[in-house]
Amino acid sequence: MSEHPRELIRDLLSGQISPADLQAVQRAPKDPGRRETVISLERERVAFDEPILVCLQEALYVVELQGGERVTKCRCGHDFGDWRRNWKEAAAIVEREGESAYFPGPRAADPEWMVLREFYCPGCATRLDVEVVPPGYPFIHNFEPLLPGTAAGEGG
């Protein structure tokens, strides 16, 4: 299983990859070094210097601070606090009910049943997650990674 060229993976992350190259990547056996390649490429794109341990999701990373503390950071550098805590508990939130610009007329959910709960980075205003939930639903903790070198369960 050979590694793909670094430039190709860079294009994959940026969405610039050509359909033919994308198909080739999808068809090829998975390259075992991908995680490390992606982390090194992501380091070029973010506004902080600390090492990335996990790409948690679009724009969010688990990083290790100088003192060894591990936190969740946005690509802009905003710190969401301890990596084991659900980052949503430190986000900026908009709850949207009923019709909106993207969901006019009957395309919107009935707020009696469901609302849009939008989570933003307080630093750069990136929309990080949109939960579709009934009012009163606890925040969903989508991902608790098992970090390399940590015991199972340490993620919370």
Binding site: V94, P104, P106, W113, R127, P145
Partner: protein
């Protein structure tokens, strides 16, 4: 030649019939060793010969699929490809399967095992040429419409396997025509059930069983020709297998079937360990029951634990309780959907069989809406199981993302919708059927490209929308439009695929009712990592219209919805009594010729923040009618001039302004939680939502603990309101 491995028999009574004994031994062996068989001896001996047999079997089941498709007279089968064929071990484990409705590989397996467990070997006495039928989802299947036929394969005196086929039949004699209705409250509304019934012997179908179907359903031709299709395919597989046993030897064939399963299991563990990031993943799907007086939101969560050794555990703890409403899945249905998800998202490059499902362990609470504790509960609209199955795919996407394999990441697939109808058709016959052009829903956005428009559905990746003319032959409705549903998919850095939306007029019928099947007014397909969900699903009906007068006068007739869903073109152009139906799956009030209605197929969720979408991509979508100008400006903050050209500086200004607006509008999480808690504790939520919470607070320890902790409420907390209403 390999000798079959020694099997432990200590705890199984010696008088147990052969298949039942083998099934018990298989279960015991797997529980003890975690392996289907202990070694791949045939592969070690000659891998080429081993793979050659598998390849030949793959061709056999694919042939059966394609030939059977042409035998059927049902558009579901012929046009959409709502069918699948497979080969099973004597104990009922899938060995090799065709393309098509792969969700049902496992439901057929459940049927075979149910017959074995219920002593059919003794009471019915299996024989060559027997044809067994099942459409009972509590045994195996999703609903009465999913119908399977299996036949045993004998080499001489010995049963060496089963061949089987399944199709989705559009009419089953339910209390509502077409068999889909969100107001079914018991099994006895759902139509004709034949639970593991012998409908033929000596390769021939029994005439009395045909009469039963003819006199119990509205349009028996679909059921009966689908039976012929399934028998054709199953017998093709059987005959081809017997030829292959002459080429490879019976013992080799039997052992190879077991090793194919073990091979898949090992491949699954290897792949999971290498491509999915270890950790715990959680997603939640929602559906709703609209039964008047007991409307309830339905909670379908999944928690997936991926371990470093490649093992996976899926917990569905937290599912809403079962009750008298049809949005329920059987356990076999949920298992089939998990297998469907694992095959499509992770294990697409290995042999697809029982080994795929054995790679994962599952926990599904008994008494929940995906594992009912009574067969009396209806299961027609298995939405919670489908939602939970789709949520599995989304959770696995997060695991791929963290491991760097962005090309495998996707938001949630479409919840399919469509319409159902019954009455008197254009040939003067009583009919009931549903249109399933929703085989061409919008696909979800991925992390590297937009979702495909009008392309497929996750439960049947081979699906197709079918020719409009074929649907017009089947149903007394004429297409005025079949269009891409602009902005249907969720917005995002990559947008969800748009589904199709059709506008119909009724014609040549003296009596008809039409309904939709979809969901209550919720966003059915969430986005991922900042992407928006797909739009809600609904149906418009227009009664007492002036459409005929417009046609006679040569006036314009609607060619679709137009670009304003709040004021659709068909409503602007045609006078009539227009009404939008959200989530009413019930056949609506009677309609008449020249009345109109619409249907949507469903759309995919979006991925990432819409402000990260390349402005050029938005401009292109507007030019091609995939994104509206309104959405381009309001959601994507992309400025286009009158000719549709991109204005880059103005776009940058719009986006910067939107970021400022977002932060001005948003509140810190703590502040949000205080207000949301107050609302919940005061009971300022609707009855459907209150019923959902109180059912789970009462009946689900894990969910209750989460609510207590998150909202800081005591253990006796119930959402106030609805005094005296039952929690189940």
């Amino acid at each position: 030649m390999m000798e079959p491995q020694a099997m432990p028999t200590a705890e199984i009574p010696t008088e147990t019939p052969i298949l039942k004994r083998r099934l018990a031994e298989r279960d015991e062996r797997f529980a003890r060793t975690g392996a289907y068989v202990d070694e791949l001896g045939l592969w070690d001996e000659d891998p080429i010969r081993f793979e050659l047999l598998y390849t030949k079997l793959s061709q056999v089941v694919a042939n059966a699929h394609e030939v059977a498709r042409l035998v059927s007279a049902s558009p579901m089968t012929r046009e959409l490809g709502e069918l699948i064929f497979g080969l099973y071990t004597p104990e009922g484990d899938a060995v090799c399967l065709s393309h098509g409705l792969i969700v049902h590989v496992h439901t057929i397996s459940r049927m075979i095992k149910w017959m074995i467990a219920n002593d059919y070997e003794q009471t019915m006495g299996f024989a060559p040429g027997d044809l067994y039928f099942n459409n009972d989802p509590h045994i195996g299947g999703a609903h009465a419409l999913d119908q399977m036929i299996v036949t045993p394969i004998y080499a001489g005196e010995e049963l060496i396997g089963w061949s089987a086929g399944l199709t989705h039949v559009p009419e089953v004699g339910a209390t509502a025509p077409g068999g889909f209705d969100s107001f079914f409250t018991t099994r006895f509304h759902e139509g004709l059930y034949l639970p593991c019934v012998k409908i033929g012997s000596g390769d021939e179908l029994r005439p009395d069983m045909e009469i039963l179907v003819e006199r119990s359903t509205r349009t028996p031709v679909y059921w009966l020709t689908d039976n012929r299709a399934k028998v054709t395919g199953a017998l093709m597989i059987r005959d081809a297998v017997l030829e292959l046993t002459e080429e490879f030897g019976v013992d080799y064939f039997k052992r190879a079937g077991e090793e194919f399963i073990e091979d898949s299991l090992r491949a699954a563990k290897r792949k999971i360990a290498s491509v999915l990031h270890p950790g715990t993943y959680r997603e939640v799907a929602w559906r709703g029951s609209p039964i008047p007086g007991s409307e309830r939101m339905l909670h379908a969560p999944v928690e997936i634990t991926v371990r470093e050794d490649g093992s996976v555990h899926l917990s569905f703890d937290g599912l809403s309780s079962n009750f008298w409403q049809p949005f329920q899945g059987s356990l076999s249905c949920l298992e089939g959907l998990v297998m469907n998800g694992l095959i499509q998202h992770v294990l697409y490059d290995s042999k697809h069989n029982e080994g795929t499902l054995l790679a994962a362990t599952m926990e599904v609470p008994l008494g929940s809406c995906c594992n009912p504790d009574s067969i009396l509960y209806p299961t027609t609209l298995w939405g919670p199981a489908y939602g939970a199955g789709l949520a599995v795919g989304q959770a696995l996407s997060r695991a791929y993302y963290a491991q760097g394999y962005r090309e495998e990441v996707h938001a949630t697939s479409a919840l399919s919708s469509g319409y159902t109808a019954g009455g008197i058709d254009q040939y003067g016959r009583s009919f009931g059927a549903h249109n399933m052009e929703f085989g061409a829903a919008g696909m979800p956005a991925t992390a590297v490209h937009d979702g495909l428009d009008t392309s497929g559905v996750e439960f049947n990746p081979e699906g197709d929308m079918g020719d409009a003319e074929i649907w017009e032959q089947m149903l007394p409705s004429i297409y005025l439009a079949r269009e891409m549903r602009i902005d249907g998919g969720g917005a995002g850095r990559f947008r969800g695929g748009n589904g199709i939306q059709s506008v119909y007029m009724l014609a040549n019928t003296s009596e008809i009712e039409v309904g939709s099947f979809g969901s209550v007014p919720i966003y059915p397909s969430p986005g991922l990592m900042g992407g928006y969900p797909a739009a809600t699903l609904y149906m418009w009906t227009g009664k007492d219209t002036n459409l005929r007068a417009l046609i006679d006068a040569g006036e314009p007739v609607p060619a679709g919805e137009g670009d304003d869903p709040a004021e659709p073109e068909f409503r602007r152009l045609v006078d009539g009594e227009w009404k939008v139906h959200h989530g009413s799956n019930k056949a609506t009030e009677p309609m008449a010729p020249d009345d109109m209605f619409t249907a949507v197929s469903g759309d995919g969720g979006g991925f990432g923040d819409s402000l990260d979408r390349a402005p050029e991509a938005v401009a292109g979508d507007v030019r091609e009618g995939r994104t509206s100008r309104r959405a381009a400006r309001e959601e994507y903050c992309v400025a286009l001039d009158d000719s549709g050209e991109l204005d880059q500086p103005a776009t940058e200004q719009l986006r910067a302004a939107r970021r400022r607006e977002r932060l001005a509008e948003a509140v810190p999480a703590d502040e949000y939680r205080r207000a949301a808690r107050e609302r919940l504790v005061d009971g300022r939520v609707s009855a459907p939502v209150r019923r959902m919470y109180n059912d789970l607070l009462e009946n689900n320890e894990k969910f209750a603990a989460r609510m207590h902790e998150f909202w800081d409420v005591d253990e006796q907390f119930r959402v106030p309101g609805g005094d005296g209403e039952a929690s189940r």
